[in-house]
């Protein structure tokens, strides 16, 4: 395993015991012609620094809505969400976007790399958004080595890599800005068992080094890698 970026203690503010994420009576209602759909209904929980949480539930239980709320891609109809002590309800779109860029790392099921950019450019993309400057290849290589990607692949395009390699690049991209939380949406859902296990070992290692991870999955074997599981059914947390 390569050198992982050191977490900066001040990212959560002066109170290091402060939860990195708080949901307080959060509800999300989608108004539809056939009647309102309550995707989330009074959801409350806290995520402490360094936790590894999996969110499980059947299809339509509200997992994706919850993930969107955690990733500041959606806003609640009721209740409050705090990310690193900041209430997201009153934030503008630009502020929420900056929060996503600086505090949250996203890992998707289908990797979602940019086909027009090479691996180094893909990984450093969020860093470029933050700094407004060009590619910093050294920082990109450092993080790519930390996720165990071979140096010879750095200048390739995503389509030239295997699924497992692409997901490692996606993990590196999510880590590049030292986020407070890593949000993963079925990170092994598009990988074979062995490659998936490799990615989960990487996640576990990241968590052991201090990265807070929240992972949405429907696979109980993958959920076993986490240290806490939130079960959600019909928009309510049941355990």
């Amino acid at each position: 395993m390569g050198i992982l970026p050191e977490k900066e203690p001040e990212v959560t503010g002066p109170d290091s015991d402060q939860p990195v994420m708080v949901f307080r009576d959060v509800a999300k209602v989608y108004p539809l012609p056939a009647g309102d759909v309550r995707a989330l209904d009074g959801v409350s929980f806290e995520v402490r620094r360094g936790e590894f949480i999996s969110v499980m539930g059947p299809s339509g239980s509200g997992k994706s809505t919850l993930l969107n709320m955690m990733g500041c891609l959606d806003t609640p109809t009721e209740g409050d969400i705090f990310i690193s002590g900041t209430r997201t309800g009153d934030m503008t779109d630009a502020e929420l976007t900056s929060l996503r860029r600086d505090r949250i790392g996203f890992i998707f099921q289908y990797f979602n790399l940019f086909p027009l950019l090479n691996i180094i450019e893909n990984v450093t993309f969020p860093m470029m958004l933050k700094s407004g400057r060009g590619v910093d290849p050294e920082r990109g290589k450092e993080v790519l080595r930390a996720v165990q990607l071979d140096d010879s692949l750095f200048t390739h395009t995503p389509t030239e890599l295997s699924g497992g390699q692409q997901q490692r690049v996606a993990v590196a991209r999510a880590l590049i800005n030292n986020p407070d939380i890593l949000l993963c949406d079925e990170p092994t859902g598009n990988l074979d068992t062995r490659t998936g296990a490799g990615i989960m070992d990487l996640m576990t290692d990241l968590n052991r080094r201090g990265t807070t991870i929240i992972m949405v999955t429907h696979d109980p074997h993958i959920a076993e890698y986490s240290r806490r599981t939130i079960q959600i059914i019909d928009g309510r947390i049941v355990s």
């Binding site: 969107n68 990733g71 891609l73 959606d74 779109d93 630009a94 976007t97 900056s98 996503r100 860029r101 600086d102 996203f106 998707f108 979602n112 940019f114 086909p115 027009l116 950019l117 450019e121 993309f125 969020p126 470029m128 958004l129 933050k130 060009g134 590619v135 991209r173 999510a174 800005n177």
Partner: protein, 395 residues
Amino acid sequence: MIFWEIAKRNIRIHLLRSSLAMLGIVIGVVAIASMGILGNGMVLSVSESLRTVGDSVIVTPHAGGGGGHFGGGGGSSSAIVLSEQDFQQIKRVSAPNSAIPVLQTTDRMKLGVGKDDIVALIYGLDQDDVPGLLTLESGDYARSTSGCLVGSTFAKDHNVKVGSRISIGTDGSRGSLRVTGIIEERGMSFDVSTDSAVVATQDWFKNTYNRDDYDSIVIKVKNLDDIENVKTAIEKQMNRREDTVDVMDTRKVMESIFEAFGQITTFVSAIGGISMLVAGVSILNIMMMSVTERVKEIGIMRSIGAQKREVMAMFLYEAMILGVVGSIIGGILSLLGGYAISSLMLQTTKYLFIPSSLIHIVYGMTFGIIICIICGIYPAWRAANLNPIDALRHE
């Protein structure tokens, strides 16, 4: 900057599509610039042929009736004339600019034994004024009252040479004149149109047609800025009580002509502009396609922290690249187009490489770039305002 890089690469991977959209811009720029170059060439060409008369003020008897003097000139083409007194007054107020009295009539004449009579315009000008007004292509100015000059078209049409004799009047009743010189072609002019005329001396004219008055007076203004003042001074002096003279400022006439040419140029350039608008629609179309194809990519960008303005900039860069590259190619081709169209229509390319022509290429290019950016705004705005959740779900 990464968004600039993405815009460039997206154009490169869709090279054919981008090239076709660019082609529209190229055509638009060429159409606008070539028409502008042609129009400017026409203005300059006419301006050059009128240059010699742009410094004149022409005074004629008032044509509205009531003014002027009814003269008794035998062959005068007009019954309304300017008297010697009028001339002296005009000469005084126009000083120090030279005032040239002009007599004119049409008469029959014979150009050699056995040849048919023709009818042509005859001017009577003071021998001293002629060198300042007319330039000769061959021969010399008339030194005696029996000498005359002829216009270049007249000489060519009737095979008249220096030394030829012209019998004036029916069966030479008004005597004959010997051609001493051929006048250089003057083209369209407002003072004296000599190309198809005979220019005799004032003394011969007055004696032959029994005239002691004038048909018009040409004032050659030395300083062009004084034209307006000279015109005003003459009008003030001569039209004090009633309108006795009409005063024409040739520069004003030329300005009207140039204005008309300018309008024609604008009109044909506007037709070129329509092709640019069509090209703009094509840019809008491919930009919309680009947004539709990249909805998921936009969703990923927005979810990992790209601001709306950054997504918008990425698409505007793409439209701008298409516009700038298309306009540069169009600008280069406009030079060739301008060269071809000037050669064909003006028979000269000397008006091409001058700022007033080349500026039309700049206009065409600027319009091309602006159209591309304007047509990129809506697709870019649409991309920037996609809901990140919906965009991420897009397949």
